[in-house]
Amino acid sequence: MHYHWDLAMVLADTDRWWHGIVITLLYSVATVVGGIVIGVFCGLALLGRKRWITLPLEGYVEIFRCTPLLIQIVWFYYALPILLNFSLPAWLAAGLGLTLYMGAFCTEIFRAGVMSIGRGQWQAGRALGMTYTRLMRRIVLPQAVRRMVPPLVNQSITQLKNTALLYVVAVPDLMYTSSIITAETYRPLEVYTTAAAIYFIMLYPLTLFAKRLETRVDR
């Protein structure tokens, strides 16, 4: 079988490809940042002992960790409007799903990072006469953050790939753009290979970065 590759035809509309890449990157950065903000607050709150705070937060984390992201996005777009009586625009429904999903994982990463700092370090800080806030800021967080960075980078890599799910609500990210170009050119081989290559080029340096961070933390 001799397939004649025609990349030029597929790549002709450079603007459209760039647009898709920009949307993918924007969603990745915005939802990762949003997720980290959620993670810091929920993670800190989960460290406390007040059940009326921790119980709902644990519920949030488990619901978003244990259901498919695809369902969350579709649910915010198609199902939530029925409850609220008004519909969210596709870009918001998808962004909400992605952010809350990332937030659930970040909460867990943040909580686990702080918990990983041994009791002895807390006691050493207390023994010097530090209050809870000082102890957190000077002793616990500086150590915990170092341990959180590798899992956060890994989760961010996953998150960038997850933005491909924007496809289902027709937000024109890299994946959705590819499907449109395919429909117009009838060249799925070239289009999807190109899309995969672009994702790879964006993510491979990040994985190298994550690996380097991990070896540095081991030291």
Partner: protein, 266 residues
Amino acid sequence: MTGEDDRHRPMIAVTDLVKNYGPVPAVRGVSLGVARGEVVVLIGPSGCGKSTLLRCVHLLEEPTSGTIRVGAQQITFGGGGKALVGRKLAAYRSRIGMVFQHFELFPHMTALQNVMEGPVTVKRMNRRAAADLARGLLAKVGLAGKEPSYPAQLSGGQAQRVAIARALAMSPEVMLFDEVTSALDPELVGEVLAVMRQLGEDGTTMIVVTHEITFARDIADHVLFMDGGAIAEHGPADEVLVRPANPRTRAFLSRFHHAGALRSAG
């Protein structure tokens, strides 16, 4: 120097201290007084409550009942709720130095930063003064030149001496040592004990929990033998360690005699 008044009014007084973990008693009504400049050594079998007692004095554990007086501050426990919280608790702890079995240096800070941390963060001392103080203390524990080292780069003995300097940097009224040589390789124990011996000679008020009986005899003004959460015997080091009256003290010490630990000293 121990003045006549100080002798009558110890700088630390613990009265009827009780600590229960749920229904399990760890310390059952212990009373002790430590005069200014005095070195008190707590010995006893593991699980006898000596570490718990020490941690109660530092309020790392909240005593179940009893009173503790440090200097002019008297605290009574068991009145429902915590006796001290927040800033007051932190202020109390800042007056007492604690050295732990596993050092617990802050791994993200150099030796110098570890020692500076208390004065800078808690006492709001300016950085330059704190650095000078820290350098002086590191020199005092024999670690001049190790200022830029991180804890991971230090031997256990060096790390424990940094931990002692870190506690001293707060100019505590009393220093507590919780089995500080138990986690060290045998050849590193001596350097830590030497530092503690020097502190004792300098007139630092100390309560020391240790299994080093020979060392206890050298350094202690007063020895308390604890067993089953209570003080079974107490008195001057030479009496308790060499001519113990209580059969349980004798049984405990005989293990060390057999090991030859006291042969030269006894």
